[in-house]
Symmetry: D2
Subunit: 352 residues, 4 copies
């Protein structure tokens, strides 16, 4: 077997960092050569995530202490908080321009700098890189991703909503001004930050909406939905928090266009995904649970009739840390490094 | 203080039965005189719900063994499974016609026997009583309830959706053909029946929709929404299960009519409920958590702008066992027996 | 009815503060006249705990801004973090010496200043008050509590362990050198502080021990067990965290002394508690769930045979926020202010 | 690569069956050739566990319909309920005597038929096979397992307790009459049977002991502990249920023998397991969480000082479905079929 590729993870102390380690530890074609975590620099990964204590992993270092050229990394996963990524990656690519990068933040997902500035409240700090970046929804941008140096890994909510809706918008099968996306996320989607509203006792045994009417992920949906439809699409989207660790579950309400029924929409999705390894469309009328994809890179999609004539209800679910973040990032890596796309991310879901 | 009224609970071994016992144990105007539970007949209530072991409560009996006339009950709560109630109550009221009844099942909620037959798959067995029954959404039918002998306590999902929507429909403030109700329920809503899909390991750490497109509660919504709007209203409604015990949480998508904004809708609700003890409308733009009403008879409602011009997002939440079932039943009892409406159900919510 | 007593809550933004508000809102003999929360000063209680938004409550103030003499409080609940309490209460009692105080922290529980200094790492700052303080385990110190100005409310773990063990130690019915207390707590026991290890995703779907071999609560157990036994008793105690909000559950392993069997121990407990309103001893061989006391001021105790001859297993459970903290504090207040002991804390447990 | 071995799973509709499918789907040396589930016969595995719908798996059949000789299975995992296994396996081995078997039930774990009859209330139905069976705790019986035809996979509680205690008993390092094992299990340990006490609302947000003083697993512990110690050992053991899916967590109280300290015990365990792939001993004084082994075949063990001189507290945790059942079964299969022992079960734990 060929020599293993050297990969690094920036921001290894967050949940998406830990999920990358989990997946990459058993990936046959790469070795984890670098782990950064500024506030935990000097510690072992097993101090930050005790489940990794038995494994042989590099010690955590601070980003500023890394000699990018000397590390000779083939690929870097960047799992840093939104808005801190831009400067870091500019620096990395100046020092080691051949490094490939999968960025898990939102920093390079928006093509239009004005849109970025509007939603994030500041100018983009790496405009050249933003131009270069390829949007990493593999099922639709595979060809570009294979040639890309910098891939912007999509968000978890937006992946859940795009996989069922993009094919329908491309087929002009649904009305574009009546899309309602009602989505619930597990708590790992909020990261490992010590905030009062994320404490166990604030979250367990209850349910709530948040960011009602003004969630940042909307800009990513607007961009991709509008590209797919060939005209501006603004969907209604409400995120919720459910008392679970992993899982995004979206219930999507649409109206068929020009007589398209729910079954027509189902057929479009079945055809679209019949050869995709990570998207499974259930038989018509059946809908999945988020549990059925837990820990895997799968997306499960169901389509059913609404009782209102001409309308359909679509359900889509994935594991926010896997297909919604780190698993999709590895899928992107596989495409970028020329590995079979399922390498290292073909675990079956873990239920119960 | 006047003598305490004698009340009975039919179906005391279910969750709504237990919740009635919890509330009535500290109700100053009534005593629990009868508890039935056919399969647990002969046992103490503390055998079925150990939390009640320290309390002095009547032993469980079978319904067929009750001498209704001799019991001289002032009021009966009927918490039997849907469809079993009709014959039981016919019998009770033949033997003891002065007994007042609050029925927590769906059996007497639908006014039109044809609609009942369509959704429940069989003829109604107590048509006379169905005619007599008053729909027990106290905030809107208080006057009739005070004079009623038989009150049909509303469902938990439907109460959650009606409290925000009925005033808006009455005010003709929203379009009637674009209402989407996306709702999540805690597991106690499914009762205490031993079914595989309700096991802890099937439910925890996940989220799912069910009954997509064809849930029975829709018939109750259709009836009340149409009455309020003065024309036929068919709303889209999708129920979900969240891994929590108590709580219904509805996110409702509406379009304002004739230029009505989200703030206009908010104002209508604030005015409607400013004197109601059990409905609280949050300041505009804020939305509640289901946790904030846990264990209480409160409903919390929030209204926010949708990003789509002309549309609003309404959030409504209550505890399915309290305001969604047994608490509302006691509220009905209070109205029927002439007690102040908050008697015995004024506990503050329990969070965390 | 007599005028309501004026009570204050110092530290109203913590979980025990919120639980005090929940209980006192419906206490017929007191009114909440003061709420402090330094970091949330100026806010409404409904901003900090939205469940209280519909209630009429005083605005939160900073402790330093309170004029203790002018407030004319009859009683203060002090729910401040451990070690901050001493100076605050010294100040309060200098300005308003007639105020009665129930302190929920650990600051005044230890009678011996040297023991305090050893376990808490610093000298006690209010030695005079410490001498005056009465240990608030009502079931055993009722007479002293009625006359006390300052009551030190016991800890949640220690209450759970003391209620079954104190009577057995007093009766010299168990060996004192083989007591093993294995206890699990819900997360509210750790308070409302934003710490990484308390995040939902760090806590849910798992179980762990903590403070193994060196938990501070041991000093409180040592003191009370030794007093009860009339000689030094050092028990083994291991606390655990379970993924639940409320509940302490202790499984206690003891050896009967001089031929005492498990049934003998059971009999001692039954006799001890037959007239106590808040302690219920189950029939021999049965053991309770923590769910069966949730939200109530009850303690449930069970005793069973160990398979090792001469040994017994005792299970004891209570709600850490109620009988383990705020409920017991109200019980103490009731004793101090001459109310019937169950006033305002006689809610039935809430299960499910 | 050599041809894949053909394996079958009897009882594929239970949780241990599903966990076997999860692990074996990605095992490079075997193919799943047979799945039985009597009550679900004729259905697809994806009907019973929707997470497997996208995979190519044999349809479920009834045990009585299997032609054991024709199937030419190399190995069978038997995941049937306790007591049903004996007759089934006798039949299998008569028809296809070369089949190797890993039995996950308790049926073949007890060597002494009299002990079996005492704990299970009936005679053993396959005494010859019981004689032949090898106890499958791989870390201690590896040599026998490699040559065995029938391996009795240990129980989940007992594996958790044996891995830390067997080496200490063999070394005569602890007193044998003061062992207290206090253990909590996740709900999957109770299987997928629809019983009221296993419903979400009966289990969540609470904690309880069960089988206090008389749990069947004790017989397995007695047997193995006594063999290890060379004399009869009877440990105290109390199982508890925690509101989590996966995980067994045991807190074990022991007294060192002849001056052995907690550190001495730690050293024995470190030495015992330094080369074992599936047992990790933490640094002295540290204790693990059950979360840190979730989904993996790892056991994590910690040792700390008790505050009582001469005593130690040992914590041991594993995933009850993996190392506590199906993972250990695959580990046994690997040994029996001559594969490297970690094949297919080297996934890193999944946390969060």
């Amino acid at each position: 077997m060929a020599e293993k590729k050297r990969v690094g993870i920036l921001g290894a102390s967050g949940y998406t960092g830990a999920e990358l380690v989990r997946l990459l530890l058993r990936h046959p074609r790469v070795q984890i050569a670098l782990l950064t975590a500024d506030r935990r620099a000097g510690q072992a990964m097993g101090d930050v995530y005790p489940q990794f204590a038995p494994y042989d992993l590099p010690r955590l270092v601070a980003i500023d202490d890394v000699d990018w050229a000397a590390e000779k990394l083939d690929l870097i996963f960047c799992a840093l908080p939104h808005a801190t990524t831009q400067k870091v990656l500019k620096d990395v690519l100046e020092k080691a321009p051949d490094t490939k990068i999968v960025d898990l933040s939102a920093d390079f997902r928006l093509e239009d700098p004005a849109v970025y500035a509007k939603w994030y409240g500041h100018e983009h700090h790496a405009l050249e890189l933003q131009k270069e970046a390829v949007y990493g929804l593999v099922e639709f941008y595979r060809r570009d991703i294979r040639k890309a140096r910098l891939v912007a890994n999509p968000g978890c909510y937006t992946t859940t909503a795009q996989l069922p809706l993009i094919p329908l918008l491309k087929a002009k099968a649904i009305e574009t001004d009546e899309i309602v996306i009602d989505a619930a996320s597990g708590m790992t989607g909020a990261g490992r930050s010590a905030r009062e509203e994320m404490l166990f006792s604030e979250v367990s045994d209850g349910f709530n909406a948040y960011g009602v009417g003004h969630h940042r992920h909307m800009s990513e949906l607007d961009q991709e939905f509008s590209k797919a439809a060939g005209k501006e699409v603004i969907a209604t989207f409400t995120p919720h928090l459910a008392p679970m660790n992993r899982g995004i579950f979206a219930t999507i309400y649409v109206r068929g266009r020009r007589g398209k029924t729910a079954q027509d929409l189902h057929e479009i999705l079945v055809k679209q995904y019949e050869k995709e390894p990570f998207v499974y469309v259930l038989p018509f009328g059946k809908t999945p649970h988020s549990r059925h994809v837990r820990g895997s890179n799968m997306t499960f999609i169901g389509v059913a009739n609404d009782r209102q004539p001409g309308r359909a209800i679509i359900v889509s679910t994935l594991d926010n840390l896997t297909k919604g973040a780190s698993g999709q990032a590895v899928q992107n890596m596989n495409a970028m490094l020329g590995f079979p796309e399922t390498t290292g991310i073909d675990q079956a879901p873990m239920f119960p």
